[in-house]
Point group: C2
Chain length 256, copies 2
Amino acid sequence: MNNIQKPHILVCNDDGIEGEGLHVLAAAMKKIGKVTVVAPAEPHSGMSHAMTLGVPLRIRKYSRNNRFFGYTVSGTPVDCIKVALSHILPEKPDLIVSGINYGSNTATNILYSGTVAAALEGALQGITSLAFSLTTYEHADFSFAGKFARKLAKKVLAEGLPPDTILSVNIPNVPESAIAGVVITEQGRSRWEENAIERNDMYGNPYYWLNGTLMLLDNELHKDEFAVRKNYVSVTPLSCDLTNHGYIGTLKTWNL
Amino acid sequence: MNNIQKPHILVCNDDGIEGEGLHVLAAAMKKIGKVTVVAPAEPHSGMSHAMTLGVPLRIRKYSRNNRFFGYTVSGTPVDCIKVALSHILPEKPDLIVSGINYGSNTATNILYSGTVAAALEGALQGITSLAFSLTTYEHADFSFAGKFARKLAKKVLAEGLPPDTILSVNIPNVPESAIAGVVITEQGRSRWEENAIERNDMYGNPYYWLNGTLMLLDNELHKDEFAVRKNYVSVTPLSCDLTNHGYIGTLKTWNL
């Protein structure tokens, strides 16, 4: 396979250009294609599908160990995809991969995730896109996740995906030998129990800091959060279409 | 109906506490219930489901014409809902209404919308929630929108909505006499043609400013963007579940 025939893969994340998972993912993709990295200059967890409208964006080249690694954009993960496609890449990429995120993006977290949003933005722009997340914030072992990302990327490059649909992959943070298998899942209904912290600053004025715990409300292996807790790799097809199609018939009877 | 029996309605938006559509919506809701307004201190268009994790949030009281109007939160629309439910409201509200937004939230825009996200966050927290948007950025005439919001709020307070589902309403910016009717719609496939502006700053360094035009790619009255362009009020049921359920069977045959 010569260079011309290699697929061009855009790699992004929401943890920012220094995120270890981004470097693992880029290395994995370099084994199967030509890679361009475009990532936020700073971490942007919890930014969902936010884009930057009020201020301009900057693109900068980023090197590590004196070698060019990729580009930073001074905005959100979705900004990165938009700017990469309009101003950095000379051609439409064959694949966009986002991650590997620190922390699972299952259930309710899908709505908050910048990692997932970057892939959804790719799908909106007609590009096959994948999101990868590891189920931990610390002591991350990305080795199996990188291998699985490469395998899945090769598969979707061959098979394609339906319009406006991505695959979001959540990978347990365990050694490969402890992985129970791979399951195709649905978005679960597990959600955050809010626990915002209220404190006073040095002037005696209160402030609030969002915090919480993802409560397991699923108990079936075909639900994403339950699957990863049982050490399965969870692969969920997500769509950009939020319509609750099943409720349209009822609404029509309201005669608004 | 005495005060005790009145439904408690939380009003939010993404254009910020000074947004005219917020004041119209609050006034409309005051005719049917007890209202608490909690809105971003600053405009937060395009913020989607972003939440603020890296810095603390402040809650402030906001008055207009020397009368208390509501609370501001120094964050995103989703932050407002979270903080309102955890720290401002003494009870769970009966209804959350978000808007009235300047600019339609149809088709692809649904993913970027802070107005829609605030309502989705309400649904995630088990509260009946509605989002309202007017199809203009200028010369806004909110009078019919306010009336329709009141009518729909009364209806959903009586009927309820399915779990994790909101209604997103887009209202043409025309006089009531020009409204063609109300249609129940699906999220359309119209999307942005990206047109980021590239300029040099005073030091000769380039910057990029996201910009674009929503291209009409729908041509059926049951698609949101097409409906509003034909002067229909568009009511779309949106779900917090992004799973592409129809693709799960195919994925299982991949034998990952």
